[in-house]
Symmetry: C2
Subunit: 217 residues, 2 copies
DNA sequence: GAGATCCTTTGACCTGGATCTAAACGTTTT
DNA sequence: AAAACGTTTAGATCCAGGTCAAAGGATCTC
């Protein structure tokens, strides 16, 4: 094989190994993990983990932030997360509610799943959020409402990427705004993380907030 | 490794092999190919090709239509094509015009690339096409215009899936309507196939037609 | 039917790469 | 400095699986 095809096989080969898949899946919740912790979680030796992390990093899927004697690994871009999301949707019947991940989950570093989609829809219908070009922006009313909820004021003008949810085939809010909203949702206990990496559980508060947005006129 | 992760690694592993990547890439133009022809194109023995085709078929990525002593293989669903498209967009800078595939190409069995996106935009702006729910439909005016161009009348009511172009991050027309439009475009010489599998070249006629749609009020 | 064409299956070969242990490297703490 | 901790590198092992030649079906042509 002389010339490589467009890098497809290399890229797919990166995720093609079961151990590397586990790594990427763990990292899909957007947080950075040190190598040793990943090794323990995936049940391989530290050496093996280091090996795979090097491969994934060289392949551009991961970035590493050295901090002291730890080296924290995380997904390189949200594009990586999107590919993984989409890959996960293949083979599955779309929008299966049997999977708790369909209800609410992290997609890289923002809210996805039914709750993420519902939230976006509620915000848009109530006029708190609108699409400008290919990005989401808060409206003036949206800014006021979010400030009251504890949204950091320096992030009010941040934009959100339109991100497709592959279990539902419907857009939700990604990008910087998505990250800020996930932060807010975690701090305000709209959702909480579970022991399963990407999975989130929606609290009663979360449901009430989403419903509340719809009540705004 | 006892329990499989969500089937991610299996799926990625399918495309992870260079030979299988070539196969899938060839099949991305939506047509079905007999096993022998694929073997010749990819430069492997018939035995090897048969082996890989069996794997891809078992994995759900391909389907096979036996016709006489030939067995024609093709992509199983358009979801497969989407994943491959998205995979291809990783690692690349988005919207690179250096790649002829960005100008116009087949995405499974419909038009993609800049031309596909432009066409969709022109049709939508001129009121010939509109979005109903999550699908495209021709308007009454659109139906008339398409009939004059040779569009088969029995397909006028067919719907198109909203399909994202990953080199551009902008939607174009997929689904049954997308297939019908690609057929039309090929018959009317708006575009023609090249020796490179998925690549299409836009003719002057094609450009004129796209411009013409914009002129409609 | 006999022969040709197309595809798959079988069996054997061989390489790539995943994995581990052990040792080296770098950082922080004492 | 020395010890403790986290990570990477080196070396060795071992197996999955990609590959091809040869044989076996299946289907068409004459």
């Amino acid at each position: 094989m002389i010339a490589v095809n467009g890098g497809f096989s290399e890229l797919a080969g990166l995720i093609g190994d079961p151990t590397r898949t586990e790594i990427v899946l763990l990292l899909m919740d957007g947080r950075a993990f040190p190598a040793g912790e990943l090794a323990a979680l995936v049940h391989v030796s530290a050496a093996t983990m280091s090996h795979h992390l090097a491969i994934l990093t060289a392949g551009g899927l991961l970035t590493v932030l050295p901090q002291g004697r730890h080296r924290y690994y995380q997904l390189a871009t949200d594009a990586v997360a999107e590919v993984v999301e989409l890959l996960g949707s293949l083979g599955r019947t779309p929008a299966t509610r049997d999977n708790p991940l369909a209800e609410a989950r992290c997609c890289y570093n923002h809210l996805a799943g039914a709750f993420g989609v519902d939230l976006r829809r509620a915000l848009e219908l109530s006029g708190l959020l609108h699409v400008v070009g290919d990005a989401y922006e808060l409206t003036a009313e949206g800014g006021c409402a979010f400030l009251k909820l504890g949204f950091p004021h320096q992030l009010l003008n941040v934009r959100g990427k339109v991100c497709l949810d592959w279990t539902q085939r419907v857009p939700h809010i990604g990008g910087p705004m998505g990250t800020a909203i996930l932060d807010l949702a975690l701090r305000q206990c709209w959702v909480r993380r579970t022991e399963i990496p990407r999975q989130l559980v929606v609290s009663d508060i979360g449901r009430a907030v989403a419903a509340g947005f719809l009540a705004v006129t």
